[in-house]
Subunit: 203 residues, 2 copies
Amino acid sequence: MQRLDQQIRFVTEIGKLKGVFRQTFLAGEGLNRHENSAEHSWHLAMMVLVLGEHAPPGTDLVRVTAMVLIHDLVEIDAGDLFLYADAAAQASQDAAERAAADRIFAILPGDLAGELRQLWDEFTARQTTDAKFARALDRLQPMFENLTAGGGTWQRHGITADQVLAKVALIEDGSPQLGAVGRDLVDRAVAAGFLLPAPSGAA
Amino acid sequence: MQRLDQQIRFVTEIGKLKGVFRQTFLAGEGLNRHENSAEHSWHLAMMVLVLGEHAPPGTDLVRVTAMVLIHDLVEIDAGDLFLYADAAAQASQDAAERAAADRIFAILPGDLAGELRQLWDEFTARQTTDAKFARALDRLQPMFENLTAGGGTWQRHGITADQVLAKVALIEDGSPQLGAVGRDLVDRAVAAGFLLPAPSGAA
């Protein structure tokens, strides 16, 4: 039973991700609160199911699904960092996330621990087609929530369209079609007054 | 763009599942609240990744993953029903869920709508190996949460060990190994005082 015990300890441990909250604000019935990283990960996996056809040829959607399901587990120890945090905060977050990955995946039997850690490393490095598509979904999903929330995080932090467009480049790198969706969302958000236009100096 | 628009409307619509709360109570840091159906679905998909080797030979884990990701979408309209509800409440819930499936999947382009609806129908009918394994995970996961919460839903509703064991039979039907895990969890919960033993008349 030792292998099964390790698997069950891991399944119990990761439930903690439901208590890690992101910057993203959710609007709507029963909501009006920050999003947690577990439900965010579910939303990304649903996006693989529904938007997977917009991945580049050769993308392995089974691997992408696994990546998006596990990509935030490290936040159980390291917490969530805001997308627009500065470089120093990002570097210290990276170290904390690697330490978290060392601890959390090691709860599993060695073969499973190795598989999931490899997927997480690949997602983090963002070099492969699979990882680039997974990262594109991770960038796109909060844009939907911000639009639903009438501005959400963008308004709370005074984010401007040019800052969002810089992140949309990363969506485009994972999927040209979804990059176009991202640019369209920025236009709609600016038109609706949910997102500040680029400051005139940045144009 | 019509196809993509439909896909994006669906992705936005399903975010509402984060506002549908289940009976399951989550204990721990940042928690101490009811579980929502989106994070519950994420937890099940993670269980497919980690416990998939305990599925019967021939189980298609890609289909099981899709099933558990979508299985609760109908609750956006129909809400969640407590596992120990009576037969009349169950029948009226079934009708509400079918109506919800008609509305929600139809947001998608026809081919995707058909695929996901078929998976949901299959999950609901619980006749295939894939559906039985998916349903087993859906029954097992709240047991982990109840144990973490020191009794959780079992204590709040005065549920007894024989009632839980009747549900464990359904886990066993999907996976003998996970059925054994379920029985072991019942024993541990009774020993810890988290779950009432069967009334003497039921023994």
